[in-house]
Amino acid sequence: MDADPTTRQSPAQSDHTLLSGLLLGVGVAAFVDEAIFHQLLHWHHFYDRSTSSAGLVSDGLFHAFSWFATIAALFLFADVRRRAAWSRRRWAGGIALGAGGFQLYDGIIQHKLMRLHQIRYHVDVVPYDLAWNVIAVILIVVGVALARRSRDALRAPRQ
């Protein structure tokens, strides 16, 4: 159910679609991170002793933002669906971009730069880090590709 290229979508609406996807991607990635790595596998710890206070604040802020983003994304989604035409491809692109972006931020800045927490403790963490960041980059590339394809579809002239 991709966008019909003959329907026009105003720039504001396509932005809302992408924005909803982005926010949902960030929120879902954070939620998956929390549910799977913290709760299920117990790989992440609730609190890493090596965290600085700046790191703690940043972690809290990002957690809060992703929580807000999830719910706001759902409301935006309902808003966009109500309107005439929407592009599922663009929404999916936003989700991939948001999730990949969050994962890359988590993998590089939170794990490595600020050392908030590691993916797993008491093991050689390099293959985990590699897999984490590679998956993040793949998601970002997929997201960008989807977003650009959907934008080209929107720009297609009326038949």
């Binding site: 609190y47 809290g60 802020l61 807000f68 409301f75």
Partner: protein
């Protein structure tokens, strides 16, 4: 109640005395709301969910300060954290959504209502009710409570217990009202400002929770602190989800109302001039010269 301040919390009668105080306070607030609601002025036009919200808020607050949770708080930091969540985060949602200020303004005779309304739009009140101020009062209070000896002292003096828990409730109500309040306030900050402050406050709350994990307050065991900090973190998340949902709901409703107002204005405008001297299509009225529609969808005719 004058003897209560001298009575240490350790004695059973001290705890029971406090329970009567809270019962009186909360019961009084509940009755006052219902009395106002049932008075002639407000009776026919007060939506029943608001009364329900008030009752729910009062009951939630009551659970936190009366009964087993309050008396167990002294020994168990986890119970204190549960009480904090109920009193400072969940109860205010109910109390604020009940629109008590609106009810008061509608019920009182006009001169008194006008006096109150004028006080409410003063700069002092507006500054206090700003989301950033409310957030500071909340998070600052929490930080002070958990990183100083305040927590330990609170359980030794009844008046301090009342002060701190009262502050928890009132500051929570102030913050909730600043974010999702439906009572009338002049120059309410924009949606964006409120969203930013909400996320920042939630972030600070989460950071404080994690900090407590490693640094328990004075007199609290490490094991209890660990459990309580996780309760604060995840319990706060759950209640914040309710807050965020109400916020987004209100935002969406306002956006829809704006859209409807704009559309109502737009329907009068007809794209007449396309460069050709064609006559108007059948049934179309020429453009009526009016001022732009205001927020209520009303238009003033221009001369």
């Amino acid at each position: 109640m004058s003897g209560m301040a001298a009575m240490p919390m350790a004695t059973p009668s001290g705890v029971h005395g406090l329970a009567w105080f809270w019962l009186g306070l909360l019961g009084g607030a509940w009755s006052l709301y219902l009395a106002l609601r049932c008075s002639t002025r407000a009776r026919n036009r007060w939506p029943w969910p608001r009364s329900l919200f008030w009752s729910a808020g009062i009951i939630t607050a009551g659970i936190a300060v009366i009964g087993p949770m309050a008396s167990g708080e002294r020994a168990d930091f986890r119970l204190h954290m549960a009480a904090h969540l109920l009193l400072g985060m969940l109860a205010p949602i109910g109390l604020v959504l009940a629109a008590p200020v609106t009810l008061t303004l509608r019920t009182l005779p006009a001169p008194a209502a006008r006096w109150i309304a004028r006080r409410l739009s003063s700069r002092l009140v507006r500054g206090l009710a700003h989301p950033a101020t409310a957030a500071l009062l909340n998070l600052g209070g929490l930080w002070a409570l958990y990183s100083t000896r305040l927590m330990a002292e609170m359980h030794r003096h009844a008046w301090l217990f009342i002060l701190i828990h009262g502050h928890l409730l009132l500051a929570g109500c102030l913050f909730t009202a600043a974010i999702i309040g439906i009572d009338p306030i002049r120059h309410r900050p924009s949606w964006r400002t409120r969203a930013v402050v909400l996320v920042a406050a939630m972030g600070a709350h989460a950071a404080l929770a994690k900090h407590l994990y490693a640094a328990p307050p004075t007199g609290v065991s490490a094991a209890q602190a660990r459990a309580a900090s996780q309760l604060m973190y995840y319990g706060g998340d759950l209640i914040d989800a309710v807050l965020i949902t109400v916020f987004c709901w209100q935002w969406r409703r306002a956006a829809q109302a704006r859209g409807r107002a704009l559309n109502a204005g737009r329907r009068q405008r007809v794209p007449l001039f396309d460069g050709s001297a064609k006559p108007l299509p059948a049934g179309v009225q020429p453009l009526e010269r009016t001022a732009p529609a205001n927020a209520m969808g009303q238009r003033r005719a221009l001369r």
